[in-house]
């Protein structure tokens, strides 16, 4: 579904990715792990067009997306739930969700049933239903994270990019976020997940890539990576 080949990207003079390739198959959950500065967030940003890649290609369902601006990429059906949540703080929860569906109203893809999807989100995230009229900026951190994910899902995405969904959340909420991700996986939503909790990410994912200095250092089925002694030592830390 999503195919990245030889991606080179960075910020100004600083190159972060040096020829990165990865593949996400339909209906699968793939995770990127690696230390800070390895290029995980940059990879997601280059895929969704928030930064322009210097070279390499990004393909979604065979269609070349490389170099397109992010609003066009979103219209093709690629949703990005960014690091740090970035909800629209002065708009209501419901309006935030409707904005997530905005590209469907103008893009070439099918518009579908926006109202129905809104109800679906409120079933999937009951907390958001309770707070639908509240301003997003007044939600707690965990609720904002749920909203960011739901907003991305309102696109009816062919692929969903999730950047650090558990960052800054209390342990109880971290468990909740991972439960939600597992539920989305059961619904066969194609996802690319970047997570600080590498162990938990590999627990829920089908396949994993280990990034080091902007390159893929290792890849394999999540279970194999989980049992790989080198990966355990370097990324899973003190194994609990």
């Amino acid at each position: 579904m999503l195919e990245v080949n030889d991606l080179v990207a960075g910020y100004g003079k600083v190159k972060v990715l040096h020829g990165l390739s990865l593949k996400v198959e339909e209906g699968r959950l793939v995770t990127l792990i690696g230390s800070n500065g390895a290029g995980k967030t940059t990879t997601l940003r280059a895929i969704s067009g928030m930064i322009a890649p210097e070279s390499g290609t990004v393909r979604l369902g065979g269609e070349d997306l490389t170099g397109l601006p992010s609003f066009k990429i979103t219209k093709k059906g690629l949703a990005h739930s960014p690091e740090g949540r970035r909800v629209f703080p002065t708009q209501s929860v419901k309006d935030n969700l409707l904005l997530g569906a905005f590209p469907r109203l103008t893009g070439a893809r099918e518009r579908g049933d926006v109202e129905g999807d809104l109800d679906r989100m409120f079933t999937l995230f009951p907390r958001l239903a309770e707070r639908r009229a509240q301003l997003a900026g007044t939600l707690s951190g965990g609720e904002q994270q749920m909203l960011a994910m739901a907003r991305a899902l309102m696109l009816n995405p062919r692929v969903l990019l999730l950047d650090e969904p558990s960052m800054g959340l209390a342990p109880r909420l971290v468990a909740e976020v991972f439960a939600t991700i597992a539920r989305l996986k059961d619904e066969k939503i194609t996802m690319l997940l970047v997570e600080q909790f590498a162990a938990a990410a590999l627990e829920v994912a089908d396949f994993g890539y280990v990034l080091e200095n902007g390159r893929v250092a290792a890849k394999g089925p999540a279970e194999a990576l989980r049992n790989d002694s080198a990966v355990r030592a370097a990324y899973l830390g003190h194994a609990h």
């Binding site: 972060v16 951190g141 965990g142 209390a170 342990p171 162990a199």
Partner: protein
């Protein structure tokens, strides 16, 4: 290497040489007068750049400040017969006072709102000058005569290039006076902006909250920036009055303020050459455009440069050929237009406007910014690399004074923080013992960050007291609390994005500078000594957190995890007794968390007391001596980590079923 050294020393020398010989080259009194105007506007624009480029505020009131300087000189001459030389310092002083007036609203509003306030300021000043007829002679204006200071007419025969008529002599002499003032301005501005004051200006632009929490008072430095800027505008005003020999209220209107902003933008912000280039453009270009031949040459030159740059881009960047071709086509069309045009006078201003728009659109960093980038690309070796600074290895990077305060360093007593109907903190009491790590945990929205903001003076608690080292902290402003020895990091990283790593830490070291403004301006030994010591100390702090290799990188280019470490280094620069860490491990992966834990341990070992907010339970449990748990603004548990971890209410509210859910 050698080429670079020659260039860095040679640049100013070449500039000086040009200033010296210019009157010999420009023989027309008209053009010489324009050159004088350029020098005067350059002085003002260098000052405007302090506010616009460095503190990031837009002022549309600088023409009025120029007017205040000019009218100070004019009124002194008209009413008191006070001449040129005393008028210069007096104009600086009067304009500086008005600079304070302009800075006061800047403390409450920023961005477009401040721009509107400065616009109103400019309009009011202009109206006042017009109406206060007794003082200013109203719309009739004031006439001044340029005195002749040195009679050089006896030289008449020996230097044939000088036309020794009285008018020409005055103009040449006045040129040298303004050129001297410009050089002096350049030197002083350079020193201020390279010092801790310049860094403070930039810090308050990038993050006012972090500036205050680093002990750099936003209030003080914003006023200072406006005063420096206004003082230079005053100097320029007095020079302007004697250069024009006639001033009237409509000389100092809104259009001129806008032209000043354009000049700095087009020339290039945050540089010395940029404002001067900007002055040349706004003074010379409209005049040069009167000459159709010259205009055609200029348009042709621009088109030639555009074609060369376009050809380069065509080869190097094949993907964006269409987009890159647009400016080239526009430049060629402009050249064609210049050839077709028979008389330019009617179109002069329109053409000028189009050229400015074009530059602002395609060169957002201004001409100087564009040239810098071009040079860096073509000859990377010429770009100034930063001097290697050795870390101060003699002293310890992190030190703390360890005094007993009845066994309690920080005492939070029944603090209530009320926001409208919401009680973010509800009668919370915490005691932090010196030398310990005190954990603060709780669900999102339970009031942890609110507590941090109360402790650092960002919020004033509705009720209750905060005592630090036995002293009452309530009602103190952030920068004073930072001075008392409480440093912090921020949950949502608050670095000074456009400053380099070492400069970020240097802002934290602001408190180590004793040098006064005058010492900075004069470049006296003390400021040099302090700067050197601070740089060494900053390096050793970067070394301490493992970022020394990246010292000259801009902070915004750092990955997230490293930004958090830089925040810690910057906070440590305050030499605090108490360090508040707000979710330092958020977004960090397991190995980086290990590195962070090691750093926190070293900090504690150095004798600092730490309050730690964190969601990673292994970090909290592994480091903390005592843990306080908040929920809905109330303290629900407190004690040793193991105790808290086993508490039923904590598991229910925060940890969830599995205590180690967070790995």
């Amino acid at each position: 290497m050698l080429a670079r050294r020659i260039l860095s020393a040679g640049g100013p020398l070449i500039g000086l040489a040009i200033l010296l010989v210019l009157p010999f080259a420009v023989t027309s009194p008209y053009y010489l007068h324009l050159t004088v105007t350029i020098a005067i506007f350059s002085i003002l624009l260098l000052g405007l750049d302090v506010v616009f480029g460095y503190t990031g505020e837009v002022s549309i009131g600088h023409a009025a400040l120029l007017g205040i300087g000019a009218y100070t000189a004019g009124c002194l001459a008209m009413h008191f017969g006070i001449g040129f030389w005393p008028a210069l310092p007096l104009a600086i002083i009067v304009a500086s006072v008005f600079g304070v007036v302009l800075a006061l609203p800047a403390l409450r509003v920023t961005g477009p709102y401040l721009a509107m306030v400065t616009l109103a300021f400019g309009t009011i000043v202009q109206i006042l000058i017009n109406e206060m007829t007794d003082l200013t002679n109203g719309p009739l204006g004031i006439k001044l005569t340029t005195p002749l200071f040195l009679d050089l007419r006896w030289l008449g025969d020996t230097i044939p290039l000088f036309d020794m008529s009285l008018k020409r002599m005055k103009e040449v002499e006045y040129y040298y006076i303004t050129a001297f003032a410009l050089v002096l301005t350049l030197i002083v501005i350079n020193r201020i902006l390279a010092s801790h004051l310049g860094r403070a200006f930039e810090a308050l632009r990038d993050s006012p909250i972090a500036s205050d929490c680093m002990g750099v008072s936003v209030y003080k430095h914003k006023v200072l920036a406006f005063v420096v800027s206004a003082g230079l505008a005053g100097l320029a005003g007095a020079l302007f009055a004697y250069s024009e020999q006639y001033i009237a209220p409509n000389n100092f209107g809104f259009e001129l303020s806008v032209q000043f902003l354009l000049a700095v933008t087009v020339g290039g912000r945050k540089s010395r050459l940029g404002p001067i280039l900007g002055a040349v453009i706004i003074v010379f270009l409209p005049n040069l455009l009167s000459d159709i031949e010259l205009f055609r040459y200029i348009a042709g030159g621009i088109a030639l440069i555009a074609v060369i740059a376009g050809a380069r881009a065509f080869v190097k960047d094949p993907e964006n050929r269409v987009r890159n071709a647009i400016p080239v086509v526009l430049c060629l069309a402009f050249f064609a237009f210049s050839l077709l045009l028979q008389k330019i006078t009617d179109y002069k201003l329109a053409v000028f406007g189009v050229m400015i728009l074009f530059v602002v659109y395609y060169l957002p960093e201004g001409i100087v910014g564009f040239l810098k980038r071009a040079v860096a690309q073509l000859w990377p070796s010429l770009v100034q690399t930063h001097a290697v600074i050795h870390a101060d290895t003699h002293g310890k990077a992190v030190t703390a004074t360890h005094e007993g305060h009845d066994g309690v360093l920080l005492h939070v007593d029944n603090v209530v923080m009320q926001f409208g109907g919401l009680r973010a903190l509800d009668q919370v009491s915490i005691e932090v013992k010196p030398g310990t790590i005190h954990g603060l945990i709780g669900p999102n929205g339970s009031g942890k960050s609110t507590m941090m903001n109360v402790l650092t003076g960002i919020y004033v608690p509705t009720m209750g007291a905060v005592r630090f080292k036995g002293q009452d902290m309530a009602g103190k402003i952030s920068s004073d609390i930072a001075g008392e020895g409480i440093a912090r990091t921020f949950q949502n990283v608050q670095l000074f994005a456009e400053l380099t790593l070492i400069e970020n830490v240097l802002v934290g070291l602001h408190h180590t500078y004793q040098a006064t403004f005058a010492e900075v301006a004069l470049g006296l030994p003390r400021i040099r000594r302090e700067e050197k010591a601070a740089r060494e100390r900053a390096m050793s702090l970067l070394h301490f957190v493992g970022l020394a290799d990246l010292a000259n990188e801009e902070a915004r280019n750092l990955p997230y995890g490293k930004q958090r470490l830089l925040e810690i280094a910057r906070a440590l620069a305050l030499d605090p007794a108490l360090l508040l860490l707000d979710e330092p491990a958020a977004g960090l992966t397991a190995p980086d968390i290990k590195h962070l834990v090691d750093i926190i341990k070293k900090v504690r070992h150095a004798g600092l007391t730490i309050v730690l907010i964190e969601h990673h339970m292994d970090v909290v449990m592994g480091l903390c001596d005592t843990v306080t748990v908040l929920d809905f603004g109330q303290k629900i548990a407190e004690g040793k980590p193991a105790q808290v971890q086993a508490d039923a209410r904590v598991i229910e509210a925060y940890l969830g079923g599995v205590a180690t859910a967070a790995e």
